[in-house]
Subunit: 107 residues, 2 copies
DNA sequence: GCAATAGTTAAGCAAGTGCTTAACCGAACC
DNA sequence: GGTTCGGTTAAGCACTTGCTTAACTATTGC
């Protein structure tokens, strides 16, 4: 999933799709590459679960899958949280072992 | 930056570092590969800005950079938000054009 | 001083990625 | 019924990645 987001073209596609669903050629239009390449990027996004699509008649309509986007966000959120918890523990530790100011003993 | 997170080994390293700073060989120990490979992964993480490190004596100590982690989270958050805003607009639209239930006209 | 420790750097390689071209298939339009 | 439209699929190719080995440097402990 991060693999899928690693490519700038693919991120642009997700960006486009997060503003509403789109057909494949609509999606391809602003991208300077063949339709074929876009379809291949789309396949990566689909197997990563970030994008879902369905074909009706001869046009395939694509949309982002909020659940997958959320999972990616959660991973990052968890790392950040654990980082911050660590800082908190450090803060507590310092507080316990080094009282408010330098005055070691209360008179 | 997503490029850096795309590799599972690198994600493991970030995971480890999010629980506290660590030396290079400490970081390498649970990973089934040479120290050399780990150093190369570390280089990727550093140029992506996700990890910072400094050498004192002969050991290099690494730590995650919360700002970078936050930026990654923000990108995903923005996409999700724009997705949800779109749903909201759709909801409003439907509400305006299709009153509460099927009963077209209030008695 | 000498050996062990901690890390760095370069060369090389197999596998993976991001394209392109080209041939193809099934609607939709005339 | 043929053509255009929207998309799919396969083959091929340059470039990048994720490793390894091997040779090297700079501390540290005895």
């Amino acid at each position: 999933m991060f693999q899928a987001l690693a490519d700038p073209t693919r991120r642009a596609m997700v960006e486009r799709l997060s503003r509403g669903p789109s057909s494949v050629s609509e999606l391809a239009q602003p991208l300077d590459m063949t339709l074929s390449a876009v379809v291949q990027h789309l396949a990566v996004l689909e197997t990563s679960g970030l994008v879902r699509s369905e074909k009706v008649g001869r046009v395939r309509t694509c949309r982002v899958e909020r659940a997958a986007l959320q999972r990616a966000g959660n991973w990052i959120g968890a790392r950040r949280e654990s980082w911050e918890r660590r800082l908190d523990r450090l803060g507590e530790f310092l507080e316990r072992h080094e009282p408010p100011t330098k005055k070691r003993s209360r008179p």
